[in-house]
Structure formats: C-alpha cells, structure tokens
Subunit: 214 residues, 2 copies
C-alpha cells in the first residue's frame, strides 16, 4: 500500500472530506486554531492562536517581539488544526463513546505581511471573525499599532476535514443492555454583556454583542 499523502485521513475514512467548500465552512465557523511547528532545534511547539480565513490562506497575528511568531514567519513547515465540538455521544459501552465534531487539519507555511494597508485590513478581519460586525463599531488600527503587530499569512498547501455526526454506533451484542444511548448536543454559548469598569458612560451594548447573545 503506498504511503498516503500527509493530508489524507487514514482512520475512519468515511468521515473525511477534501472539498474546499467543506473545509472553508469549518474554518469560517471558528476563529481559534492550534498551530504546530518545530523551533529550538526540532522541538515541536503547539500554540493556540486566533485566525481569520482569506481565500486559501489563514491570517495569523502576534507581537513583533514574539520569538515563536518570528520562527513561524521564517516559513518553516507548519500544521494548523481547527476543531469544533458539536456533541457528546453516549453509547451503551465505554468503547463506543465518542464526540461529534468538525475539524480541519491544514499543512503549509507562513510568511510575513508588511504592507500597512493589508495589516490594517487583516486586523479588522480578525475582529469580525471573532465578533461579526464589530470592526465597523470600533476604531481601526493606527500606525503605531500596526508597527507593533506581526501579521503572517499561512498558505494552505493541502488540508482535510473530518466530521463525526449522528448517534452512537453500538455493538449489536449490546442492543438489549438497559443503558441509555444518544447524543447530548454541545456548542459555544454567549452570556449577557458585562460592561467594562472604565467604559465610556452612556453607550449601550452594541448590535454585535446583542446578536451573539441572541
């Protein structure tokens, strides 16, 4: 059997998806990723980062003073995972318990973006990825803030999505066990806005916050 390509899903292949629409839909539903690469002479690092998708690239940002950001921006080989949890799968046996999820694992390399307009647009995009509509409600980055921001563009060279959905797949021999089976759905939920101690007086919670709370 030939060695599969790095992005080919090797286990439970019926859960795998490789089309851009499936991959983009998952990437657009989240804004937290985990970025892995080697630094310090081969030591693997994995770090949580915010991201925003731009076509077949992922924008990442951090401080210009971050050594890990600079290593990543040197174009080393990297892998990025995005995982959304959708439910807890209750089976009749320990073995068949599972989680419903949507995940993407992407492979590629990151390069710095230095153009000020592109950096400003990216910062607005990060804000809107986390909080849709928020960029228009708040002040855009100024020259000093842009200078303090390291922006990287990670080009997705290949990627796969993996999705588990639906109920448990119990062992037929367990069919009569008096054990409940099913799914408890799960999702990130938002609470009521908490105004800052130093907030500008007389300003109500904005539309972007109210839409999240629903």
């Amino acid at each position: 059997m030939p060695t599969p390509a790095r992005h080919e899903v090797r286990r439970v292949r019926q859960r795998a998806r490789y089309d851009a629409a499936s991959i983009h839909a998952i990437l657009d539903a989240a804004w937290l990723c985990h970025v892995a690469f080697a630094a310090d002479e081969g030591q693997p690092f994995v770090i949580p980062m915010l991201y925003a998708r731009d076509g077949d690239t992922l924008l990442l940002h951090g401080s210009i003073a971050s050594r890990l950001m600079r290593t990543l921006g040197d174009g080393v080989r990297a892998s990025i995972a995005v995982t959304l949890l959708d439910g807890l799968v209750f089976a009749r046996s320990h073995f068949h318990h599972s989680a419903n999820y949507r995940s993407v694992v992407a492979f590629g390399r990151a390069m710095p973006v230095t153009d000020a307009d592109e950096k400003a647009a990216a910062l607005a995009r990060f804000v809107d990825a986390m909080i849709p509509g928020r960029a228009a409600e708040s002040r855009a980055a100024d020259r000093n803030e842009l200078a303090a921001t390291m922006l990287l563009r990670f080009t997705i060279e290949d990627a796969s999505a993996k999705v588990r959905e639906g109920g448990p797949k119990d062992d037929p021999a367990d069919a009569a066990l008096p054990v409940w089976s099913g799914v408890v759905p799960m999702a990130l939920a938002y609470g009521e806005p908490i105004v800052a101690d130093d907030a500008t007086p007389g300003v109500d919670a904005p539309a972007s916050a109210r839409r999240l709370v629903g």
Copy 2:
C-alpha cells in the same frame, strides 16, 4: 538575555502560571487537546485528541491501526495544548480586542500502555472526563475492545499555563470614544439529550446527561 526554557511564557508574562495546581485545574476542565509532533521526515502534525489527566501524565488513545498514534507512541518529542475560551473582549479599538481564555502548553513524550487492566481503567477515565459519572452507567471494555485500542501515556516534562481574564485594556487616548467596551462571556453549553434511533426501549436519559444540561 539567556534563552528561555521551552515552557517559559515569553509574551505578556503576567498571564503566565507555572504551578501544578493552576495547570491541573485547566487540564481537568477540558478533555479535548491538540497534540503536535513530527512525522514523515520532520513534517509537523497537529491533531485533535481526547485526553484524560492522570497525575502528571495525560492519557491518550486511538486505534492500533493509526500510523500517527504509533509514531507518537515511539516516544518522539511532542507538545500538547489545551485551550478553554471564556469570553470575547470588546475594546474601543481593533487592536485591543482580545479573548479571555485559559490554556496549557505541555512538553513531553508518550509511551504505550499495554497492561489490560490499566487500559480498561483508562477507557473508563476517558468516558468520565467527557461525561462525569458515565463510566458507571455503561459497559466496560472487553478483551477485544482493549486489544483494538492503543493507549498512550504522555508524561508532562514541563508545562505552562496562560490565563487572560477581565475587561479590555484600552488605550487611554480612546477613553472618550463613544464605543462600548466590555466582555461577552462564552462557554460550552449542552442541549437537550437526543435519544438514539436504535436505543433500548424504556430507558430514560441518565443522571450523567441530566447533570450536563443542568
């Protein structure tokens, strides 16, 4: 300045915590991690995995047929991140938007666990990490299921926690801007249990599911 150790937090150091109690509390509040290591001649991989903490180790499991699991179980250098999102931080400027979170990044190596009793206990622990109390409600793993499971024990050699909490840190020059600032809390929330199509008739949703929904 000496090179910091791999687990030392280099940026925004006031957010860093290195004590075992802080690290364990975060690890015990989650069950999804992202594991990074190199395979295929140095290519970094990051994959989402379930875990359960056992002292200063993290138990990981997968199929014995998984090539990535076998590579990880060879004791290659690995890094594991756990990230919990607690809130969206609304600032007056794009630049100061942020997320509240608790995260741990750990470094170490994984080794296979082959003892059947230890594997069975670990499977129960995975179930209870995701769904507290569920292991006692469902059937323990049998000999064939244990044989199909690859169990790894990742020893945490060093780790750091990073926590951001509280409101935005706006630029003082923005104090009078008519822009709302504050935090929208966020957390994973559970929905009503959905019974499986092939569920055993007459079995109600168990205590473990009802506790999650609250």
